[in-house]
């Protein structure tokens, strides 16, 4: 059980526990041990139940754990619920400032009490400081119980409060209050404990929204339009932070970017499209409700062929749903967003690392294909800190602006026809406003012919929309190809998934193999699907499509786009709003396989 267990801290939001939990996670990471943390928080600002789950795994598994070994129960409101989540034989740590609550009693687990509250009341003055320090106190207790490197924790506290001397002292006091009391009263460490490793040297702890913001920064995005919405807010806020740091002209002190907080998502989409039309790399970030509101504008961008990157950090729907829970339920909406015949390019990052690389790819694709591109992330990827390889950058990278005619080219050509496909790749060259009189044309969401002239003629209309269909077909092989994980030779069972469930699928695959069930696994990275996806489907008799929504949306897209019969694909659906665990996948898969045999 060394470096292989999970623990959960149950507190109340707005009390400062978040930073304490971050501290724990970071400490473990710095001990070189693979770690992952999931913050399960409420949709309000202060006073409601919140949980933080930390998993350590020698093998580097980062998916949500199947069971919790140790629960730190500090929120009476959820005692009953929390205690049940401890695995039998596990541990429960509670605040013994008050007598043990009946709700917490269970005879198949070990219950440890530390009077965090009392200790802090004695040591500190003022409610605020007492509540804050209580978090550091339980951190100290965990340091003792799990054998976290105390020096390292101390060092981190010092880093954090370098500037705030007074806070530094009280934090140290609190840390030791918890640590010493625990050491004194309980045999430390517990069987579940940590030991230094060196598995995290080339890794960083990063959330997807920050990584995506970096991607936009590095891709050269200059216009960001947005309207605040959880869990997408932190993406634009991170971008803004990076811009202040890297995008201010050294001489003039003026900004090489323009971020506009719009009045709503419709406006954010309009700004993105206007900026894309005028030649900037522009983007917006939103969540489901925003996607629904952008429907009309997306149809305009599709039909008028204007680039723009649209981030959807998915949360649990429908409607307002559960804003602080995760899901993959906007897939169908996005694929064909807007009335009429439309189809859109979408990228599906599996982790913060890919949020960075795919953001860059999204800008190249949107300009190359002159059509909106969606980067479809989710709350789990976007807002939780993930352990990922350090982001790297190739200075050789140059933006793919696609076919854009400059002044000279325009000067040369006889007549510029905006929607004329000269080389048969389905993509017509565009011109930017202000460059040259000959480049002038009229953008309209109404019927237009290949010269961008208004038309109500069936053939002229069809010529343009047929090319659009061709263009999207071309995109199939230009978007990131799926990742194929083969397990030995020609397996008949194949798993398919996309996005953040990847971590769980890799683990599930190993677990199944361990149980003697060898499966192949294909991770889809983009829509529209290409040949590789079709081939995988055709070459596997039994296919499981794992996704986090109720209606098997990915399976529907596969049925529509690849032609494989729906029922050749067995859905594995988890849509309660929490990150996927490997065990859910393995149990579902085995259940179905057994049912099949029976």
């Amino acid at each position: 059980m060394i470096n292989d267990f999970a623990f959960k801290i149950a507190t109340v939001n707005g009390t400062g526990s978040a930073s304490a939990n971050g501290l724990l996670m970071q400490a473990i990471y710095r001990m070189g041990i693979p770690v992952s943390g999931k913050n399960v928080f409420p949709s309000n600002i202060q006073g409601l139940p919140t949980w933080y789950e930390i998993r350590v795994s020698t093998d580097g598994y980062t998916a949500r754990p199947a069971h919790i070994d140790l629960v730190v129960a500090l929120n009476p409101a959820t005692y009953g619920k929390d205690v049940t989540t401890v695995r039998r034989g596990g541990w429960l740590l509670y605040d013994s400032s008050w007598p043990l609550d009946h709700a917490l009693v269970r005879d198949d687990i070990t219950i440890l009490g530390v009077p965090f509250g009392q200790l802090c009341v004695e040591a500190f003055a003022g409610d605020r400081e007492r509540t804050l320090m209580r978090n550091i106190a339980y951190t100290g207790a965990l340091v003792a119980l799990l054998d976290i490197d105390m020096d390292l924790v101390g060092e981190m506290v010092r880093e954090q409060f370098a500037k705030k001397r007074s806070l530094l002292d009280s934090n140290f006091r609190a840390l030791h209050l918890g640590y010493d009391y625990t050491k004194k009263h309980y045999p430390c460490p517990l069987p579940i404990r940590l030991e230094r490793m060196s598995a995290t040297r080339d890794q960083v702890l990063l959330d997807g929204n920050t990584a995506a913001a970096l991607g936009c920064l590095y891709a050269g995005a200059t216009v960001g339009a947005w309207y605040p919405i959880t869990p997408a807010t932190s993406l634009m806020e991170a971008f803004s932070g990076f811009c202040k740091r890297y995008r201010v002209d050294p001489e003039t002190k003026r900004n090489n970017y323009c971020i506009l907080q719009a009045e709503d998502e419709l406006a954010a989409a309009g700004i993105t499209i206007g900026a894309g039309w005028a030649g900037a790399r522009a983007f917006t970030s939103t969540a489901g409700p925003g996607i629904s509101l952008m429907g009309e504008f997306i149809g305009l961008a599709y039909y008028t062929e204007i680039p723009g990157v649209f981030f959807d950090i998915q949360r649990t729907g429908p409607s307002t749903g559960m804003p602080t829970r995760t899901q993959q339920a906007d897939l169908l909406s996005i694929a064909y967003l807007s009335h009429g015949d439309t189809k859109h390019i979408a990228l599906f990052p599996a982790n913060p690392g890919e949020c960075f690389t795919m953001s860059v790819a999204a800008f190249d694709l949107t300009e190359r294909f002159q059509t909106p591109v969606f980067v479809v992330s989710d709350l789990d990827i976007g807002m939780n800190d993930w352990m990922v390889p350090r982001l790297t950058w190739d200075d050789g990278y140059r933006p793919d602006r696609g076919k854009v005619l400059g002044a000279e080219e325009l000067e040369r050509i006889k007549r510029f026809s905006r929607y004329l496909d000269v080389d048969g790749d389905g993509i017509a060259a565009r011109s930017l406003p202000g460059v040259h009189p000959k480049g002038a044309y009229f953008v309209r969401g109404s019927g237009h012919d290949k010269h961008a002239a208004y038309t109500e003629d069936a053939d002229e209309y069809r010529e343009v929309v047929d090319r659009l269909a061709k263009k999207l077909k071309m995109a199939e092989e230009a978007v990131p190809a799926p990742e194929f994980y083969q397990n030995g030779e020609n397996n008949s069972v194949g798993l398919i998934a996309l996005g953040g469930t990847h971590a769980a699928l890799l683990e599930a695959r190993d677990k199944l193999a361990a149980d003697g069930i060898a499966v192949d696994y294909l991770r889809i990275k983009a829509f529209p699907f290409g040949e590789a996806v079709r081939r995988f489907l055709e070459t596997h008799d039994t296919i499981f499509v794992v996704e986090q929504n109720r209606d098997a949306q990915l399976r529907s897209l596969l049925a529509i786009e690849t032609g494989l019969a729906r029922d050749r694909m067995t859905p594995v659906l988890d849509y309660g709003g929490l990150p996927l665990s490997a065990d859910f996948v393995t149990s579902e898969v085995t259940r179905h396989l057994e049912a099949r045999v029976a």
């Binding site: 990063l206 920064l217 590095y218 003039t252 419709l266 406006a267 309009g270 499209i273 002044a407 460059v435």
Partner: protein
């Protein structure tokens, strides 16, 4: 990124402007509007304004929503890029375009349905953002393109073609803009081109969002007896604050002595707007006076027109955002991408 274009040879008789272009060079496609539509007169004034201001057509961007009025961007300056977006959402598209390329001259054309119903929120926020653009609201009190339903600017009691009176209170874009702190507010009448022209020019030269509400009758659905947006009613009831002259910086001020007492406002670029025969106590830079004036006329059953308010001192969208002078669309990639080393350093902060 721009290019100098050589004036092609033309019929000598045609008068040319400083760029050597004739008015023809500022014209657009054939109008498909109804014969007599007020919007076509506005289009004509637009052609005149751009021609006289010596603006290179391809350096202007024509933005619009959906409606007969919004269609007119196709009917002037064929050498300018045009963007006929979606209904009521042009202000956001214009904001984005302006964010990407601040050097272009933006002109937005909209209607009362496009701006005051579906687009009201976007109009208000474009005003708040003070996007540098001229926004012409071609106001006819109806939804022309959808065949004459009352718009939000229709007056109570004004009759539809079928004789039914409008029962909802109107929204006056001028009062709305003033209450929001707009920086340039005017109202014109498509039937009075001489007075409209200088407003358009001033609006084009204004640094920030210039709103011009142009009463522009719909001959097909709202030009009948009983309508308060008909040519007749407007002509009889509009009250011009004062005719204005727009004196561009480059031309020296000759007209000076031509008339008597006059208030004048110097625009951001040095050109001057001169108010002729304005009541000496009227200050076109006084937001509240303008509001009171419009309301007073309204109470009299009149429509206050004219260049009502100018504020040349408020920051526009880019000043607020402190963006670089050069269009963001033209900033070289090197200046945008921090590069490998910076990323390596940055990564150390995520340990």
């Amino acid at each position: 990124m721009t290019s100098i274009q050589k004036p092609p040879v033309r019929h000598p008789s045609l008068q040319t402007n400083a760029l050597g272009l004739t008015k023809r060079d500022y014209e657009g496609a054939m109008s498909t509007l109804c014969a007599g539509c007020g919007h076509d007169s506005v289009t004509a004034a637009m052609v005149q304004a751009f021609f006289e201001l010596d603006i290179p057509p391809h350096r202007a961007a024509k933005m619009s929503g959906i409606g007969c009025s919004s269609k007119t961007t196709a009917y002037f300056m064929r050498q300018s890029h045009g963007f006929n977006s979606v209904h009521g959402r042009m202000p956001s598209v214009a904001s984005g375009a302006n964010a990407a390329n601040r050097e272009l001259i933006y002109i937005g054309v909209s209607g009362d349905g496009d701006s005051l119903s579906i687009g009201l929120g976007q109009l208000c926020h474009a005003i708040r953002r003070n996007v540098d653009m001229l926004y012409v609201l071609e106001n006819n009190g109806v939804y022309g393109l959808t065949k004459g339903q009352f718009s939000a600017s229709a007056d109570v009691g004004s009759k539809s073609k079928r004789g039914e009176p409008n029962v909802q209170k109107p929204i006056d874009p001028v009062l709305l803009a003033l209450s929001l702190g707009a920086t340039f507010v005017a109202r014109g009448f498509s039937g009075d081109k001489t007075r409209l022209l200088p407003m358009l020019k001033a609006g084009l030269r204004h640094k920030g969002f210039a709103l011009i509400d142009v009463l522009s009758p719909c001959v097909s659905f709202n030009d009948h007896e009983g309508s308060t947006k008909s040519y007749r009613f407007t002509r009889e009831n509009y009250h011009e604050l004062a005719p204005v002259d727009f004196v561009p910086l480059q031309r020296e001020i000759t007209a000076e002595t031509e008339q008597g007492a006059s208030v004048s406002v110097t625009m951001h670029d040095g050109s001057i707007v001169r108010f002729r025969e304005v009541a000496s106590d009227y200050d076109p830079t006084d937001r509240d006076a303008a509001y009171a004036h419009v309301r007073a006329r309204q109470e009299k059953g009149e429509i206050a027109t004219g260049l009502l308010y100018i504020d040349e001192h408020s920051a526009d969208m880019h000043e607020i955002a402190n963006t670089v002078e050069r269009p963001l669309a033209d900033v070289p990639f090197e200046a945008l991408c921090p590069g490998r080393e910076a990323l390596e350093k940055l990564m150390d902060e995520y340990r």
